[in-house]
């Protein structure tokens, strides 16, 4: 079974009363498939086609959405899921096709039109104002109710909805102080209070810890009982199987399949999503077997190395802020040995950004030391840290690690220009191109043409350029790998490229590099890392060998639930 996520079934046992618990056959479905097909759909899309220039984002799409159903839209990155949702919400206008709402044709020209119809959308990056309170954010979106802002009325309304749908938030809390999961709840409360009947959610689980995902699906369940239609985008198959009544799979902008969730397996969905036979998607299986082999080798290495070898990188009691400031590092201590990978699990904004920024000196340390191969890097410049052998895959490559207006090849050699000026002023452009071509001959990822400016590349293509530079091209990375700090290395990549990238990273480690891997994908962290470190509000709240880690425990630690 190439695609299984054992952790997901495990995490479902968190709440035994949960209606979404248990096996699929006992799955609570107040509206049966037959009921659904007998009632007319709330929204019916017919022949929707949306183009961006030459790209056909949505091609002749038919889709029915019923009240009282949870409808998952599944597809790879770039399959056209978000575009389709934005067509329904009125952000995108389709070139062809019609939309019917409750049986009559409607024109949805703008989000205002869709809101008037009772269609609401929760975007991935929420439409909330961090500086304002929850109640103020909700009030901002309510239709006008007079001049004076009645906080008590709005607070009461929020509390009523919170209780009804299990959406606990504190109305007086400032949005910047609440978690991503709570922000999502605020968005849902906003839509419910604005009388939306169709709720569209764009990748709602991507910002959540595992047990929060379960909570969200319980909320879906409650909403479904009250006749809401829930339409959500995801690319995670187990979620689809646990939470939805019906599933629509998109590939290359077209509907591959739409139908009841019952009876469909994860393997079916993968082959529909990818449009290829399962054997071709099995690099994950290969990696799994590599891991077994590797972890044996690593433990063997560790024993052989004994205590005589220096850590490749070591943080000793590093502080960047005072204790009661949740942003920053609070006494972070860890080390990574050569040939070892440390996975950092944390929800965005809990100190994982500061790890890298502190290493490069962009964030100043209040106290503590950072050692690279036993040498204190105090006072080192960013360039001397990078030259000492640190490869860095940045969280935000386009603004942190690239010059957006420069071409692919220029960006590839950005850090090593001194090697190409032949001691003079002029760059040896021919030499650069030759070296890039040679060095990348064996590189498994397809790069964009060398003459393209990187700001014209998609996120996935930018990521490939960074990977090529930091893992393959830089001289020390090829010959004597030392330290690789990798933020979300597979973000924006399709499944196959992502697997190839994971292999690249594993190879870097096996050549003796020490890796700090920061990823939102817990499965990826667990399948690659030797050790897992969990951070919450700048503190290390858990550290254990991967074999001893459970997703459930990591999820609890990540959200501070155990504190």
């Amino acid at each position: 079974m190439p695609i299984t996520m054992p952790w997901f079934t495990k995490s479902r046992n968190l709440n035994p009363e949960s209606p979404i618990n248990g096996t699929e056959s006992s799955f609570a479905k107040p509206v049966s498939d037959q009921d659904v097909s007998n009632t007319p759909p709330l929204i019916a899309l017919r022949g929707i086609t949306k183009r961006f220039g030459d790209l056909i984002a949505n091609n002749d799409i038919n889709l029915d959405i019923y009240g009282g159903e949870v409808h998952a839209v599944l597809g790879e990155n770039g399959a056209g899921k978000s575009t389709l949702m934005k067509v329904i919400y009125g952000v995108n206008q389709p070139e062809e096709g019609t939309i019917q709402f409750r049986g009559r044709d409607v024109q949805i020209q703008s989000p205002r039109d869709s809101r008037d119809l009772g269609i609401g959308m929760v975007f991935q990056n929420f439409a909330l104002i961090p500086a304002l309170t929850v109640a103020e954010n909700v009030a901002l979106f309510l239709p006008d109710q007079g001049m004076v802002l009645s906080r008590s009325v709005i607070t009461q309304q929020i509390q009523a909805i919170s209780e009804r749908y299990n959406l606990q938030v504190s109305p007086s809390a400032r949005v910047r102080d609440i978690t991503m999961g709570e922000r999502q709840k605020v968005e849902l409360i906003k839509l419910i209070m604005a009388k939306a009947k169709v709720l569209i959610l764009d990748e709602p689980t991507s910002v959540l810890a595992p047990h929060e995902v379960d909570g969200l699906f319980e909320v879906f369940n409650e909403l479904r009982r009250d006749g809401y239609a829930i339409l959500f985008i995801t690319h995670k198959i187990p979620e689809v199987l646990t939470s939805s009544d019906r599933i629509t799979v998109l590939r290359h902008g077209s509907v591959v399949s739409t139908g009841a969730q019952r009876g469909i397996t994860g393997d079916d969905l993968v082959s529909m999503m990818m449009g290829i036979e399962l054997e071709a998607v099995s690099p994950r299986a290969r990696i799994q077997s590599d891991i077994e082999y590797d972890s044996k080798k690593i433990s063997y290495q560790r024993e052989a190395i004994g205590s005589g070898v220096r850590a490749a990188i070591e943080f000793k009691d590093v502080w960047t802020t005072i204790e009661d400031d949740p942003r920053g590092l609070h006494g972070v201590t860890f080390k990574v040995m050569p040939g070892e990978m440390l996975g950092v699990a944390a929800i965005s904004g809990n100190g994982q950004q500061e790890l890298g920024e502190t290493l490069l000196g962009m964030v100043k340390r209040k106290s503590g030391t950072i050692l690279i191969e036993g040498e204190d890097i105090k006072g080192w410049s960013v360039s001397s840290i990078l030259e000492s052998g640190v490869s860095y895959i940045s969280e935000d490559p386009i603004s942190m690690a690239m010059v957006p207006d420069m071409r692919v090849d220029e960006n590839l050699v950005l850090g090593e220009l001194d090697n190409y000026n032949n001691g003079g002023v002029w760059l040896d452009l021919g030499g650069i191109r030759e070296r890039i071509t040679n060095a990348l001959k064996t590189f498994p990822l397809q790069l964009a043409p060398h003459y393209m400016p990187v700001n014209q590349l998609s996120g996935g293509n930018v990521q490939r350029v960074i990977l090529a530079r930091e893992i393959e091209l830089t001289r020390h990375a090829r010959t004597t790998p030392k330290v690789l700090m990798a933020y979300y290395p597979t973000r924006g990549l399709d499944v196959i490229t992502a697997e190839a990238t994971r292999k690249l990273i594993l190879e870097y480690r096996d050549r003796g590099g020490a890796i700090i891997l920061i990823s939102e994908d817990l499965e990826e962290l667990l399948s690659l890392s030797n050790n897992i470190m969990v951070m919450f509000q700048g503190n290390i709240v858990g550290e254990f060998p991967t074999e001893a880690a459970s997703i459930q425990e990591i999820g609890m630690l990540m959200t501070g639930t155990n504190k």
């Binding site: 989000p111 439409a127 104002i129 961090p130 304002l132 901002l140 979106f141 001049m147 004076v148 802002l149």
Partner: protein, 307 residues
């Protein structure tokens, strides 16, 4: 010893008068910045208010018309800024500064024949009972009508900002234009209105200066009070109530300087003239993390928070 008490008492009495014009300008800049824009032309708007308020009073004999003219003059100048920064997308700091210089020039020209004019300006109104409070009474309650309006305006702005939908819309625009738009607001119209109101309040401050405080017009008479207001908005962390504290601090510094000159303190008057501005520089250095957090998100591109 007696001298010190004399100076302190005089400072207190003198703190309110010079503070009122700055307070209006601070309110104006505060509304502008809450909408996510910064207006360095506020100094120019104050000069417009001082000059055209004075001219209108001389020509019509009506102080009320004078005050209104001052407000119109101030808001016209700020509307030029609104047009340039919102529709022409110019740099806010450079545009504001240019408009201050333009305001200084045009008022110097328009006001050149009025320098020796005399007016029957705004006169102090003594509030019964309240003015008999020891020490504070005379300082606070023997002022012109615009001072009393300024006292009330602080709490009114505070309530308006936090307890009305208009205030919520204003704050939302200052934090995120896209969210405000998604919530069905017209962000640019809100910003234009906020900038115009800001200019009108600065003009009112200028009018208070020439009609209520000095009863004369002279070229460049605001001497940087508009820029002081920009600093005070940051000191006030965008709160109208704290703005009152800041403005009276500045007023107090001017009062202290006048007192020291009166008793003939052995310090060069040029040094004493710098005192209020030194205090403003000191106040700005109190810039804290809290102020950075309070800053409307929309300003951060222009005024980089340094934390």
């Amino acid at each position: 010893m007696n001298d010190i008490w004399l100076v302190l008492g005089g400072t207190l009495t003198g703190a309110v008068g010079p503070g009122i014009s700055v307070l209006y300008a601070t309110y104006g800049e505060l509304i502008t910045e809450r909408a996510g824009r910064i207006n360095l032309g506020i100094e120019g708007s104050m000069l417009m208010g001082a000059c055209f308020g004075f001219i209108a009073t001389v020509e019509t004999g009506s102080v009320t018309l004078g005050v209104l003219s001052g407000m119109v003059g101030g808001s016209l100048l700020s509307l030029v800024l609104a047009y340039l920064v919102i529709y022409r997308n110019t740099n806010q700091l450079a545009t504001g500064f240019a408009l201050t210089l333009f305001g200084a020039g045009i008022t110097a020209y328009a006001g050149r024949t009025y320098v020796d004019s005399t007016i029957n300006g705004l006169n102090p109104i003594t509030v019964p009972i309240l003015s008999e409070i020891p020490k504070l009474g005379i300082a606070l309650f023997e002022q012109d009508v615009l001072a009393y309006i300024a006292y009330i305006l602080g709490p009114v702005l505070f309530l308006g900002l936090h307890y009305t939908r208009t205030g919520l819309s204003l704050k939302a625009v200052g934090e995120s234009i896209s969210v405000a738009y998604a919530a069905g607001r017209n962000p640019y119209m809100i910003q234009i209105v906020a900038i115009a109101m800001g200019g009108a309040l600065a003009g009112l401050g200028g009018a208070q200066l020439s009609l209520g405080f000095t009863h004369t017009w002279s070229e460049g008479m605001t001497v940087g009070r508009g820029f002081v207001a920009v600093g005070l908005v940051i000191f006030a962390m965008w709160s109208p109530l704290r703005a009152m504290v800041g403005a009276f601090l500045f007023g107090g510094a001017i009062g202290l300087q006048l007192q020291l000159q009166t008793i003939g303190a052995p310090v060069s008057p040029f040094i004493l003239d710098m005192l209020p501005y030194l205090i403003i520089i000191f106040v700005m250095s109190l810039w804290s993390r809290a102020a950075a957090r309070a800053m409307p998100e929309g300003l951060k591109g222009v005024l980089r928070a340094t934390t």
